[in-house]
């Protein structure tokens, strides 16, 4: 399990991608906060401290799932396509493979978000612990969704397409849902994480549980799959 986890983590860490993502997150967070300060009275009634974390939140809203899905849409099916999975399943349990891959991907994001949160916290002069935990749940939801997608659809060309589609649809539909009373869209906000950000951390339990459901569906599907 740890072997798979570390391998996945290291693979994501390699190259320029983590630097690029970290840079985008930080730059967007920072300048959103700066922009907010320029407007008299801030954005709405945000304090200056809140402006920075609001900036990071905005960056995650817009780019978070896009990054998660472009990096991890093929976390499982790439190994199905390459046939490397056959060596893995003869050596480790199928659950351990899914667990390792999910955890490795999640740890990668947890580390990136931690770095960004620390940078933002340093700039703002206060540590955003609660917000960091909320970001973790947000990312966990995306990572488990990507793992599920990658098992549900065996072709990585398709998961790339559906992943990017989901990355745009999730925030778009969620915000529409928050603003609309129409029955056909109003429910969407309850099954995605965005809506719950406005409440206490406690409410993030809902997207976390949904993430767990994605994960267990991925595990179940993979148990039955011929590889």
């Amino acid at each position: 399990m740890w072997t798979i986890c570390f391998r996945e983590f290291r693979e994501l860490m390699s190259g320029f991608r983590p630097l690029l993502i970290a840079a985008v997150l930080f730059v967007v967070s920072y300048y959103t906060a700066q922009a907010a300060e320029l407007i008299p009275d801030g954005m709405g009634n945000l304090s200056q401290e809140e402006a920075y974390v609001a900036g990071m939140r905005a960056a995650l809203y817009v780019f978070g799932y896009l990054f998660v899905f472009t990096l991890s849409h093929n976390v499982v099916n790439k190994e199905l396509e390459a046939r490397t999975i056959r060596f893995l399943v003869t050596k480790a349990s199928r659950s351990a493979i899914i667990y390792g891959k999910t955890l490795g991907t999640f740890l990668f994001w947890a580390l990136l978000l931690l770095l960004n949160t620390i940078l933002i916290s340093y700039t703002a002069g206060t540590f955003y612990l609660i917000d960091y935990l909320e970001f973790l749940v947000f990312i966990f939801y995306g990572v488990t969704a990507a793992v599920l997608l990658s098992i549900l659809i065996p072709r990585s060309a398709y998961t790339m397409f559906f992943g990017v589609l989901a990355a745009f649809a999730l925030p778009a539909l969620s915000f529409w849902s928050m603003l609309s009373e129409e029955w056909y869209i109003a429910w969407v906000k309850f099954v995605t994480p965005y809506y719950y950000f406005q409440f206490d951390l406690f409410y993030m339990a809902v997207p976390f549980v949904i993430g767990l459901l994605f994960y267990s569906a991925a595990d179940r599907l993979f148990q039955r799959r011929d590889v």
């Binding site: 072997t3 003869t90 050596k91």
Partner: protein
């Protein structure tokens, strides 16, 4: 004796095609078991079913007489799967270290290099696998099956695609590992190979096991029919041939013509003199007689048309 592999009525279909059609097989501790069949017989699918690569439609697999499923014993088996590949960017050595950690028995660099030497890859240990030839990948496949020192080796065509020298090396390695006490289950489509190294054999045909036993038992079980071919020269016309065929049919024999050659099947060697007498009574001009007994290989391993289509036509 412990049954290291036991399957009960294993069934697997792809679409409408039943590729493994109810196989029940026991492999005992210490055996070097050869699983033979022509291409497409379903050998690899059977191996995939017993190694968790594929899930059977129905039936059961028990390894090491264990009832808790294959996950409990994965660290005790080494598998060379068909149709698999490596990570092109990793070296052979790195693969072995990764795979051994994966099976929960991390190998030292020394151990990994030893195993690479065993399969004849010592020189390529630090090359990226992307640069390996087909044969080298096959050897690395055997190495990764060995790296965690498993009790059971399941090898799908370990010698196919290797050059002649490597084939012999691989056969010796397999025999040596077996002598060291490992149980080995291997597939092959090459009867001489299996005759040479295996202690017990099963022949798979169209999803089922057609024959099973030691080589000797197999040849006894397999009562081949004799094919008698009579050279009638060039004198017979179509009418004569038809008359002779009718005559044979009255005596409950099938005969097939191929120009001047008449092919007739008999169930045993003892029946051949009687057949010749009957042919004389039918005024068949006999210029020559030849008798052939198709081998196990002809029946089970060659492509079907080589045996049945021409010769067994009646």
């Amino acid at each position: 004796m412990m049954r290291i592999i036991r399957t009960e009525n294993l069934i697997k279909s792809f679409g409408r095609e039943r590729v493994v059609d109810g196989i029940s097989l026991d492999v005992y501790q210490g055996e070097l078991f050869g699983f033979l069949g022509r291409n497409g017989a379903g050998k690899s699918t059977f191996i995939n079913l017993i190694t968790d690569i594929m899930k059977p439609d129905s039936g059961d697999v028990y390894l090491f007489e264990e009832n808790f499923g294959i996950d409990a014993v994965k660290d005790r088996i080494g598998v060379l799967p068909d149709y698999s590949s490596f990570y092109d960017q990793l070296t052979g050595l790195k693969h072995l270290q990764f795979f051994s950690r994966l099976s929960g028995k991390p190998a030292t660099k020394k151990r990994s290099l030893e195993v690479l030497e065993q399969v004849g890859l010592e020189e390529a240990a630090r090359w990226k696998v992307g640069t390996y030839s087909f044969g080298m990948k096959k050897k690395l496949g055997v190495a990764q099956a060995l790296i965690h020192d498993p009790e059971l080796l399941i090898l799908d065509e370990p010698t196919s695609g290797l050059d002649a020298e490597s084939v012999i090396h691989m056969q010796k390695l397999v025999q040596e590992l077996n002598r060291e006490g490992k149980t080995i289950f291997m597939t092959s489509h090459n009867l001489p190979e299996v005759e040479k190294i295996c202690s017990r054999i099963a022949i798979m045909k169209e999803g089922t096991i057609a024959l099973e036993g030691s080589l000797k038992e197999l040849q006894q079980q397999f009562q081949a029919t004799f094919m008698v071919t009579i050279d009638t020269g060039t004198t017979l016309g179509e009418e004569d041939k038809a008359r002779i065929s009718r005559g044979l049919a009255e005596k409950k024999r099938g005969g097939a013509w191929e120009d001047g050659l008449l092919h007739v099947e008999t169930a045993s060697e003892d029946a051949i003199p009687l057949l010749v007498q009957q042919l004389v009574q039918l005024h068949v001009p006999i210029y020559g007689v030849s008798v052939e007994q198709p081998s196990l290989e002809d029946i089970f391993l060659h492509e079907p048309e080589q045996v049945s289509d021409d010769l067994y036509k009646t």
